[in-house]
């Protein structure tokens, strides 16, 4: 499967090991992932090596798993925030090249160390604090969709690439591009049906997470879609805090991103210096404000909308559907 992961991490045939597979969330989400088509080949839970979860062998360590199971190159982690850094080290040492960290509450220092490791070690991290990544060619890493049948029904192959700092909006922006007869604001004004029985669909959904130090930035996710031949439009959600939207604007202005970008930008009324539910959304300097980002994005040619349902009409306009 040559999907978005090929462009993100150079992996065309993901074989997944799940850290924390014997826990409540690890078990249930592994079922979602396998049900969607993801090849989960092994699990890791210290002290539970030798067990199985739905027929998937469990190992005490990632090194054991990699030794015993050929083809492991990716990992999804359901481990507590305090254990994420060590788990990343373990996976990296075992040769894992793509990692999805779902944990919320990872210390920024730990996330920074993970980013440092991944850049210097040549592997890719998505998260922490992400619902993960879904590719409609049949691969799901993490929590998107909530259920396999739900995910299959709601995420259909198409040409929109989704990037987002919010889990809920990642899922919504992905699914609604696949809903038949979706109503919404029309690009020329008014409100009406944006497409007929078939929506534009999505190539993949990448939630980069809401933390201050993402393993993969909005720009890096957008660059993967830029290289993905299925993707004609990049749509997503950005917000205050961090420099991610500013970088995206620079890349669009500088021609590194040539595909149309439509972004719902949140945080217009966010006060500087106030903690936000997304730790990464806190404004620490002028460049991280909604106004500064909005100005940069618009100047670069990004279509910025101020309500989420306006994303779909804008995408439909770009694609000539309305």
């Amino acid at each position: 499967m040559a999907g978005i992961l090929g462009h993100l991490a150079g992996i065309d045939d993901p074989g997944v090991v799940v850290f924390g597979i014997t826990g409540k969330q690890g078990q249930s989400t592994t079922r979602v992932m396998t049900g969607y088509g993801t090849r989960v080949l092994a699990g890791v839970t210290p002290g539970k090596g030798g067990q199985e979860v739905d027929g998937i062998p469990v190992f005490d360590s990632c090194a054991d798993a990699v030794s015993a199971v050929p083809g492991l190159n990716s990992a999804v982690f359901f481990v507590p925030a305090g254990a994420v850094l060590q788990a990343t080290r373990e996976a990296s040492a075992a040769g894992i090249r793509f990692m999805v960290h779902t944990a919320d509450g990872v210390a920024s220092h730990d996330a920074a160390l993970m980013r440092e490791m991944s850049v210097e070690g040549g592997f890719r991290i998505v998260g922490p604090n992400t619902v993960g990544m879904l590719d409609t060619s049949g691969c799901l890493f993490g929590l998107i969709g909530g259920g396999a049948s739900w995910a299959r029904k709601n995420y259909l192959s198409g040409c929109v690439g989704i990037i987002s700092r919010s889990g809920g909006l990642s899922q919504l922006l992905g699914a609604f591009h696949c809903r038949p007869h979706l109503p919404g604001p029309l690009p020329g004004g008014g409100y009406g049906e944006l497409w007929g029985d078939t929506g534009p669909g999505v190539s993949a959904v990448i939630c980069v997470g809401g933390d201050p130090v993402p393993g993969t930035t909005l720009l890096e996710a957008a660059l993967a879609f830029e290289a993905d031949p299925r993707t004609k439009v990049i749509a997503g959600y950005g917000e205050t805090g961090t420099s991610q939207e500013n970088e995206l604007a620079e890349a669009v202005a500088g021609g590194r991103i040539t595909k149309p970008v439509v972004l719902f930008l949140g945080g217009r009324f966010t006060e500087a210096g106030v903690s936000q539910s997304h730790a990464g959304a806190m404004i620490r300097c002028e460049a991280e404000t909604w106004a500064a980002k909005h100005e940069a994005l618009v100047a670069a040619g990004v279509t910025v909308v101020d309500r989420p349902d306006a994303v779909f009409g804008s995408v439909a306009g770009v694609l000539g559907l309305v």
Partner: protein
């Protein structure tokens, strides 16, 4: 971000061998010190400009100490007074270490800042800062730092100190560590930290190190009682995070005061953009949940939201589409509304897995609620919901009193520890139940049937706290099952 007062920051620095001005912490009056002069410095978390606020005082005699100390100790949120030796200082320097989140093209790490212009006056210092970036995996050594410092007699001492600051910053995962001034002592050229402060993330405080970062109440700063309550159950039930912040502002006259719940991180932004800049709607709080919250925890969160005074309306919406089962969330909302003393009209939108089933189930359950309820499909976004608030309130009928089906009390039939909950079973009602819908609703087969008694705890199975059993019992059973979910007590 939580801020550490000077005395706690000193303790962190000292643990890494960073020299600080000798001093003693005084927590009550009267008190004595070894000698004079000393500087008395009130230790108040987050306090800035202490000198101009009269929180730092030079003391030259026991009589002066006796007069000033009680005054400083009585200041709001004062945790004590540091009596620090007055030194013969030749030169004042500045040093800081700050966290840099990095970018797509620059690695995150630490930035060590140094200036020859220490003491007050940040503006004057801004142009004279030397900046040294370093990866968190390898804080700079004294030798590396010395190469960036002026050729002065105190260079080696300062380099040692700066390296110690960088180690402290990394060891305790701080966001900011500032020493201002650093004192170069006249005579021997030693460099010491005279004053210092730090900022940190709560999430970075390791188990067992909490005491180093002060008391929970001090960390809470200006948190409200309900915010502390949410914090308390986040700590006791860490699966998934609930974010809750009450609005410190005041509503405009005639504004509809809206309590909100479970908006999601992006939903928080979405909600803000729906109500921001308008004065006819006043959001009482911001909220977010992320991660795999149980319905038990969602219920507790909603109870805190509903405990806000003077709410005119509860508006619930996910940020878009959630990965959590919307059926579980529907049960949590229903239960919280049913058991909260606050009865206000409710607007609910579900989005995500089983959203249509959740909406249908909630509408069935809402018949047992006192409050008027309106539900919305996921295609209706918060901005549209906000636009319909006035109309809904005009149309909403009066609340009707409905007694709870099975009030809590007595000894629970059984309990679960994680997530915490107590199961009460009305044996008489359950004995008449033929359908036993609670069993079928449980996704983990945690419930078994005890003949003549009702649902019981099955051996070897675990409860995920989804609340589907209680909802099913009310809808299709005998209403004999009640799960008591205790709310934490806070000061």
């Amino acid at each position: 971000m939580p801020a550490l007062p000077e005395y706690l920051t000193r303790a962190l620095l000292e643990s890494e061998g960073v020299p600080v001005v000798p001093g003693v912490m005084l927590t009550s009056a009267p008190a004595t010190v070894a000698g004079f002069p000393v500087f008395l410095k009130a230790q108040i978390p987050g306090a800035t400009s202490r000198k101009s606020a009269g929180l730092v005082r030079r003391i030259d005699s026991p009589a002066e100490l006796g007069a000033v100390l009680p005054d400083l100790l009585s200041r709001d949120r004062c945790e004590g007074v540091l009596a620090a030796e007055a030194l013969d200082i030749e030169l004042e320097l500045y040093a800081g270490v700050v966290f840099d989140a990095g970018s797509s093209s620059a690695l995150p790490g630490g930035r060590l800042l140094f200036s020859l212009a220490g003491g007050s006056g940040i503006e004057a210092r801004a142009g004279s800062l030397t900046e040294i970036r370093f990866p968190l995996s390898s804080p700079p050594s004294p030798g590396t730092l010395a190469a960036s410092l002026p050729d002065a007699p105190w260079r080696a001492s300062a380099a040692d100190l700066l390296a110690g600051m960088a180690r402290t910053f990394c060891r305790y995962r701080l966001l900011v560590l500032e020493a201002n001034p650093l004192a170069v002592l006249r005579g021997d050229g030693r460099v010491l930290v005279v004053d210092c402060r730090a900022e940190f993330e709560d999430r970075a405080v390791r188990n067992g190190e909490e005491a180093l970062f002060g008391t929970a109440s001090a960390r809470a700063g200006d948190s409200t009682r309900l915010e502390r309550m949410v914090d308390a159950f986040n700590r006791s039930d860490p699966a998934g995070t609930a974010f809750f912040r009450q609005n410190r502002g005041a509503p405009a006259p005639g504004a509809v005061r809206v309590a909100t719940n479970l908006c999601g991180g992006g939903g928080k932004m979405l909600w803000e953009m729906a109500v921001g800049g308008r004065d006819d709607i006043f959001a009482l709080n911001e909220s977010d949940t992320s991660g795999g919250l149980s319905a038990f925890k969602s219920y507790r969160f909603l109870r805190a939201v509903l405990a806000q005074e003077d709410a005119d309306l509860l508006l619930f919406t996910g940020s878009g589409m959630a990965f959590q089962s919307q059926l579980n969330i529907a049960a949590a909302i229903w239960k919280a509304l049913r058991e909260s003393p606050c009865v206000v009209p409710v607007m609910v939108r579900f989005g995500g897995t089983d959203e249509d089933k959740a909406r249908a189930m909630f509408e069935r359950l809402s018949g047992s609620l006192r409050a008027p309820v309106r539900t919305y499909p996921s295609e209706v976004f918060p901005n549209a919901m906000v636009d319909s608030i006035r109309g809904f309130l005009e149309d909403a009928g009066a609340a009707s009193p409905v007694p709870p089906s099975c009030p809590p009390g007595g000894t629970p039939a059984f309990e679960v520890a994680v997530p915490p909950g107590r199961f009460h079973v009305d044996g008489a009602r359950c004995a008449e139940c033929r359908e036993r819908p609670c069993l079928g609703a449980c996704p983990t087969h945690f419930l078994a049937w005890a003949e003549g008694c009702g649902p019981a705890k099955a051996e070897g199975q675990r409860c995920t706290g989804c609340l589907m059993c209680e909802a099913a019992c009310l809808l299709d059973g005998s209403a004999g099952l009640f799960i008591e979910l205790e709310m934490p007590e806070v000061e």
